[in-house]
């Protein structure tokens, strides 16, 4: 290819920026190209701020400042914790798993610079989250920057970043794969946010939850940050909270330093031991294997095989199990504890929460997990290989949807079981068929919508950002995540009414609530869910699932 005889060597000795700077810029560029990270650290907290402000209204509090003044800090804390704990851990574990850390280790860049750059990039993103939320708060809701407390804000933020980065790297040090690191960090942070005055401020927690929240660093970070936004007197330092942050940071740093590994940990290392040097694989000793089986397998057998395969793949993805099954149950157990026993819309809290969270579980299984699995299979060439087999692809899709149904039934049973056994919820046996109908229809609707998203999107990377990014905000305006007893104001209510999540929740409410119709079927809501199903199927029909 190259015919030039001269060695194409260039001597370049002009001074370069420090590797930390180069690697930080590189890491930030990587962040900018990863939609899911941007979603969780920037968009998600911002959406929270806008939605919660819209719902609780922005009237002045007792101290005469707008409510949003006290909302910016907790949501910023969530963004910072996402950037430093979850994203840092997930990205670093990913780089280790792919051998990128190993390659960087072989360069002259000292090992510490590689991690320092990842942490700096997370710090930059964290600052961006704080600035973004403060800016939007100031612009839309009249949030005031308390200039006197800026030094306290900077110190608190720096300490929080250091603490959660150290903990994130400790998780990387203690885990083997990116999947486990991601599941662990996200699975810890989101439930923790509920008991740490981040998502819900001033909740009446049971004693043990309260103690748990106090022992862990997130609540202290939230309190210390909120203080720096409080226009009341003082300079905004909370030494006690800062001390706890520092202590957790030191603990994380010690674990990270002692246990961190740079080489991939998994099946790839070390070199697999050789069997005794004999019996070359190219010469099988026995006779050639004889073909088995006679004739085509029945559709039922094919479908069962595909459902089984889809279920296995889902169980081996702990993050999806967490979001689809564990998380809703966790919320069901947590919300009544957090909000107390005051009735919501005339119902006991658990009775009111059960249908919403069941709808949420179904929506996650169908609309988040399913499309992610299918898009990944498409991206990795699994679908291509399948298309080379005699299996018609509709059986693959049917197997995936069947798995969604199995998972949804499981979470419904689990949610109902927890509600009946521990939360004094009564279910009417005569209306259980209506519950079953709602679950099946809900699976059909959200699975069809999920597949429609796969059909519409070319790349798998932005997919979860879009599905979770629409589902989570929608949950706040769809009677899924409770936002108080008052009816929703104008535009949130309109959005809730437009999309199927609220209607599925209402269908399930009619089937589970003592106040529902005798048949347990709410025809109007059923029609809306069915209409969305048909619309999604039409998109699938027009676009085709496997193009691209």
């Amino acid at each position: 290819m190259t015919t030039d005889e001269r060695p194409a060597v260039a001597e370049r000795t002009r001074p370069l920026p420090h590797p930390v700077r180069t690697l930080t810029v590189h890491a930030l560029r990587g962040f900018a190209r990863s939609p899911l990270s941007a979603f969780f650290t920037l968009i998600f907290p911002l959406a929270f701020l806008v939605i919660v402000s819209a719902i609780v209204g922005n009237g002045p509090t007792g101290a005469g400042v707008p409510v949003a003044q006290f909302l910016v800090a907790p949501f910023a804390v969530f963004g910072v914790a996402q950037a430093t704990f979850v994203v840092l851990a997930t990205d670093t574990a990913g780089l280790r798993e792919r051998g990128v850390l190993m390659r960087l280790c072989g360069t002259p860049a000292p090992a510490w610079t590689v991690l320092a750059a990842r942490v700096s990039a997370s710090a930059v993103v964290s600052v961006a989250a704080v600035v973004l939320l403060t800016g939007v708060g100031a612009g839309l809701y009249g949030v005031e920057v308390v200039w006197r407390k800026i030094p306290a804000l900077l110190v608190t933020l720096a300490l929080g970043i250091a603490c959660f980065s150290a903990l994130g790297l400790a998780v990387v040090a203690l885990t083997r794969t990116v999947l486990v690191a991601q599941t662990l960090t996200q699975g810890l942070l989101i439930p923790l946010a509920f008991i740490s005055d981040v998502f819900i401020v001033g909740a009446e927690l049971p004693v043990w939850l309260d103690r748990l929240g106090t022992a862990l660093p997130l609540r202290h970070f939230a309190h210390a940050m909120t203080e720096t936004f409080d226009p009341a007197g003082g300079y905004g330092f909370r030494p006690g909270d800062l001390l706890v942050l520092a202590a957790w940071g030191v603990l994380g740093a010690v674990v990270a330093v002692r246990r961190f590994g740079w080489l991939p940990r998994g099946s790839a290392t070390p070199a697999t031991p050789a069997p005794a040097p004999a019996a070359p694989a190219s010469r099988p000793a026995g006779p050639a294997p004889r073909p088995i089986g006679a004739g085509r397998r029945t559709p039922a057998a094919l479908l069962a095989g595909q459902v089984r395969y889809a279920l296995i793949s889902q169980w081996r993805d702990p993050l999806s199990v967490f979001f689809a099954v564990v998380f809703p149950v966790l919320l069901l157990a947590l919300f009544p504890a957090v909000f107390g026993a005051a009735p919501v819309h005339g119902l006991a809290p658990a009775q009111y929460l059960l249908p919403g969270l069941t709808a949420y579980a179904i929506a996650v299984a169908g609309y988040v997990t399913l499309p992610e699995a299918v898009a990944q299979a498409r991206g990795k060439g699994v679908l291509k290989r399948l298309r080379g087999t005699p299996l018609p692809l509709r059986w693959y899709v049917a197997g995936r949807v069947g798995a969604v149904l199995v998972v949804s039934i499981l979470s419904t049973v689990l949610l109902c079981g927890v509600a009946v056994l521990f939360l004094d919820v009564r279910l009417d046996a005569a209306r259980l068929p209506a519950v079953a109908l709602a679950v099946v229809l809900g699976v059909a609707c959200f699975a069809a919508l999920g597949l429609a998203v796969v059909a519409l999107l070319r790349s798998a990377t932005s997919l979860v950002a879009i599905t979770l990014g629409t589902l989570l905000p929608l949950s706040f305006v769809s009677d899924v995540f409770p936002v108080g007893d008052a009816p929703l104001p104008g535009w949130p209510a309109l959005i809730g009414n437009l999309f199927p999540l609220k209607h599925l929740a209402a269908l399930l409410l009619a089937a589970t609530s003592p106040a529902g119709p005798d048949s347990g079927i709410a025809a109007g809501h059923l029609a809306v869910v069915a209409a969305w199903t048909v619309a999604a199927l039409l998109i699938l029909r027009v676009r085709g699932l496997f193009r691209g």
Binding site: E11, R12, P270, A276
Partner: protein, 326 residues
């Protein structure tokens, strides 16, 4: 900061020029490494002179990658002495890594970056380096510089790997199976590139599965088997040392059967009219055969005499049975 190492590297010095015959680039003695009960490396020792290209051969799991990763500084050793460019890789640190280049067997990339961005980043980590554009040209990726890594083919990714290993203009380059997955043209191109690195005096330690590659590139070959170094030397030495028979092959003319052949010392296999004789006395047996052919007024138009090749030597050394039907 891109300080040169303490007294060991002066930026701007032509790599390896005039340093042939200096102290050896790599000295390994009694290198031992265990994984639990498995002895991955068992008292391995060899010396690589500056400017040499050495191929490490052996079946999967023989310990090639373990050996290379110890020399690269990735893995600790349990026993033995290792000196690479005068450093102990276990604590060579930055000064050591500024002078070596590593092409890993299994490392991935950050898929969301372009070829150019990754080359630029990698090069920026070394005090002495190639220009990213030239690097891309060197490995034949000049037209893919703006492509994101995820859009590269398997062979192109491997070439990017090679380019990243070269980014720091190393004195010593480690290549762990550098051309696995290349098409024949890309492999030739990679070989040409390695030849050019040799001309500049770069020392290269490579592992490979391809005997042809070792034969074509290597000044010395090391054969590992189950953690032991079973052979070391020039490819031709290895071939001679294995004491393998020479292969004498021909086709019998019509009307002749094998039982009319003269008695030869070698082992004879006959398949139809095709005869193969494996002999340790090639001259004597050839003479018997040609005298017999001349006496019978026969021509043996397909007569060939083949010395044992590196592949035969390798298969014999690693205990793999040779293919009878070459």
């Amino acid at each position: 900061m891109t300080r040169p190492g303490p007294g060991l590297l002066r930026p701007g010095r032509p790599a390896g020029a005039g340093r042939r015959g200096d102290t050896p680039a790599i000295v390994v003695a009694d290198l031992t490494r265990r994984y639990g009960d498995l002895l991955a490396l068992d008292h391995v020792g060899f010396t690589v002179e500056t400017g040499q290209i050495v191929a490490l051969l052996g079946p999967n799991g023989a310990g090639k990658t373990t050996a290379v990763e110890i020399l690269e500084g990735y893995r600790p050793r349990d026993d033995g002495q290792v000196s690479v460019l005068g450093f102990d890789p276990a604590d060579g640190g930055r000064a050591y890594r500024e002078r070596i280049g590593i092409v890993l067997q299994t490392a991935g990339f950050e898929d969301e970056f372009t070829v150019d961005e990754l080359l630029r980043l990698q090069a920026s980590l070394y005090p002495r380096r190639y220009d990213p554009g030239e690097l891309a040209g060197l490995v034949g990726l000049a037209d893919r510089r703006r492509t994101r890594v995820k859009a590269l083919s398997g062979g192109q990714r491997r070439r990017l790997d090679l380019a990243l290993g070269l980014a720091g203009r190393p004195d010593l380059l480690f290549l762990d199976e550098p051309t696995t997955g290349f098409d024949p043209a890309a492999r030739r191109h990679a070989w040409d590139l390695i030849d050019r690195l040799r001309e500049q005096g770069t020392t290269i330690l490579l592992t490979t599965h391809y005997i042809e590659e070792a034969e074509r590139l290597a000044d010395r070959v090391a054969v590992l088997r189950a953690g032991r170094l079973v052979a070391w030397g020039r490819p031709s030495e290895l071939e001679a040392r294995c004491g393998l028979p020479t292969r004498l092959a021909f086709r019998l003319p019509d009307g002749f059967t094998a039982d009319r052949l003269p008695p030869m010392s070698g082992v004879r296999t006959v398949e139809g009219a095709d005869v193969v004789v494996r002999t340790h006395r090639a001259v004597a047996d050839t003479r018997l055969l040609t005298d017999w052919a001349a006496a019978n007024h026969l021509d043996l138009p397909t007569l060939t005499l083949t010395p044992p090749g590196l592949e035969d030597a390798y298969l014999s050394l690693t205990g793999e049975p040779a293919d009878d039907h070459r």
